[in-house]
Symmetry: none
Subunit: 317 residues, 2 copies
DNA sequence: CCGTTGTGTGAGTATTTGCCCATACCACAA
DNA sequence: TTGTGGTATGGGCAAATACTCACACAACGG
């Protein structure tokens, strides 16, 4: 037999072995018997068929596309974790799907036996996620708020969810009894140096994992809607190039924190270090796209939970 | 209420596990870790994905021998289309392999943008093929049954698959609410002239492509097993030289329809014209050999999906 | 003629997978 | 409340599979 012919018959045999294995459902032993070769050779034929790309596996489920996108996101943006949920084309909700996924991801972390420190940001998405969280007893863990929980009018900030989650999971909670944005840089320093606050800030820096929302800075930016900043402050942030806000701090399109403006007075903790903690953002939708892109570009996060449409646009851009 | 919802999320998870297993190449242990479940549950998820038909394996290598046989079949019997799949020597299944190939061939037709009329026969092989069909949305097409769908006892004929396929591909379906074999020639005429039936018969004559099974007339002929004809009628058909049956109509070894007997009462549509339609038979195995040979000889079909062993015998004879 | 190199094979072994079964869980009815 | 039937879970084990290694053999070059 001449050389090239040998190669084609080898692939032929490989295809036959692969067929018997994957389509006919034989074991490699049976294939070996039927083809009159040793089982090791049969195994080699099958794996040759796989490595030569003869065998194509396809998943007939919308989820497959999501997992694929998640993988691409991880690759492209160097994320440690990514999850993409299907987009419901008919819904305009900004929490549908991602909240469920976030709750599931939280549960996975909380199931850990070894104590973790769970950092929690703020926002509508996060609130929705925590509402979906099934109660589990996790007295070994600690949850720490990354933002202040006092609204400008003195009431508890509605979308600060530290108490909700602490209650759900029966863990010790560390809220930050502070305004989200102080009235001056000096006041912030004063507040941060309080004995009550310092341990919380230190704990937040030790977070094992943190879940944060990403706020946009459009006309109806949550920071503005909820009264934490004035319209003028919002406009100033936008003019300074701000595209998004994470735990109250504004960033430009490259994920670099803006200098000055309200950022000088944001009383939130820093986003935990991406070297020591998983920082998972939960965000989807066209309005948040620039913000998510910025967070990815600036490596502000190393985990992302989003939806199909958003993931596609992120990868296309 | 909760039942379908639970089922879909379960399938979602199964798809996820299947993806991680087959596409990402994780072991079941890794999947278990990533999904926060036990390995056993992961294993169940994966096998659920397989059993639900979410996972499709395709071999992208035309095995030379099979291609060669297919070509010879086309030449020798003047077929427009032939496909030969490998034979699993140890298996006695009459559908293994050919059903997959038939599903793939159907998919090729269904992908067409221009509307087609798809005629569908009946039988075990066809049923297996349609179960393997991946759901695709084809509202532009029409599927028409070539046989009645009422069993002698009044129930829906089990191997009438028009509803299964219509459901899978979301196309308009045209079943034939008739018995497969009428009690008399007169009854058949009466039934066929009904306003409900005539359009279906007309549509079936316009089929672009039709997939049919070939039934044998041995002791366990499907027509007899399923109770459409009596043992006496079966024997009579055999004595009159009948070797096979397509859409209920019996043919002799030259593919000529038998005169009289049950053929006078078969309420099925005619096999669509081989001049205007592709008529593809799906059949393999020694028991069906005479039938396939007859169908080829009588040019009842112009397409064939069979297996290696059957193709070889056909060509040798 | 001999050694080298690449390829294919079989044997043995570690890992992975499939399956059974005891148990836990949940919903529902008595 | 308790019992009951159906369902999901995880442990354990045997089968199946993947991997590593050593050897055989042919081609090639010195």
């Amino acid at each position: 037999m001449s050389k090239p012919e040998v190669t084609t018959t080898r692939l032929d045999d490989a295809a036959r072995a692969g067929w018997l294995y994957y389509v006919a459902g034989n074991t490699q032993d049976e294939i070996a018997a039927k083809l009159g070769i040793s089982r090791q050779s049969a195994q080699r034929m099958v794996s040759l068929a796989v490595s030569e790309g003869l065998v194509k596996v396809r998943l007939d489920h919308p989820i497959a596309r999501c997992l694929d996108l998640a993988e691409q996101l991880k690759q492209r943006f160097g994320l440690k974790m990514a999850e993409v949920v299907p987009t419901d084309p008919g819904s305009t909700s900004t929490t549908l799907g991602v909240a469920d996924a976030a709750a599931a991801e939280m549960t996975r972390w909380l199931k850990s036996e070894t104590p973790i420190v769970l950092g929690i940001g703020t926002g509508r998405t996060l609130k929705a996620a925590i509402e979906l969280l099934s109660p589990i007893e996790c007295p070994q863990h600690k949850v720490v708020s990354l933002t202040g929980n006092i609204a400008p009018d003195g009431s508890a900030a509605f979308y600060n969810v530290i108490f909700n989650i602490a209650d759900k999971i029966k863990a010790r909670s560390f809220p930050m009894p502070l305004p989200v944005i102080a009235s001056s840089p000096e006041e912030r320093e004063l507040l941060h140096s309080q004995a009550m606050i310092r341990p919380v800030l230190e704990l937040s820096a030790q977070a094992t994992v943190a879940f944060v929302g990403i706020g946009d800075l459009s006309e109806d930016a949550p920071l503005f809607i909820d009264g934490f900043i004035s319209r003028e402050e919002l406009l100033a942030l936008r003019q300074a190039g701000g595209v998004c806000e994470i735990v109250g701090r504004a960033f430009d399109r490259n994920g670099v924190p803006l200098k000055g403006l309200t950022n000088d007075r944001v009383a939130s903790a820093q986003i935990p270090s991406r070297d020591t903690a998983m920082v998972i953002a939960i965000a989807k939708g066209p309005k948040k796209l620039p913000g998510i892109a910025a967070a990815l570009k600036g490596s502000l996060i190393n985990g992302l939970i989003t939806d199909e449409a958003t993931a596609e646009t992120l990868l296309a851009g």
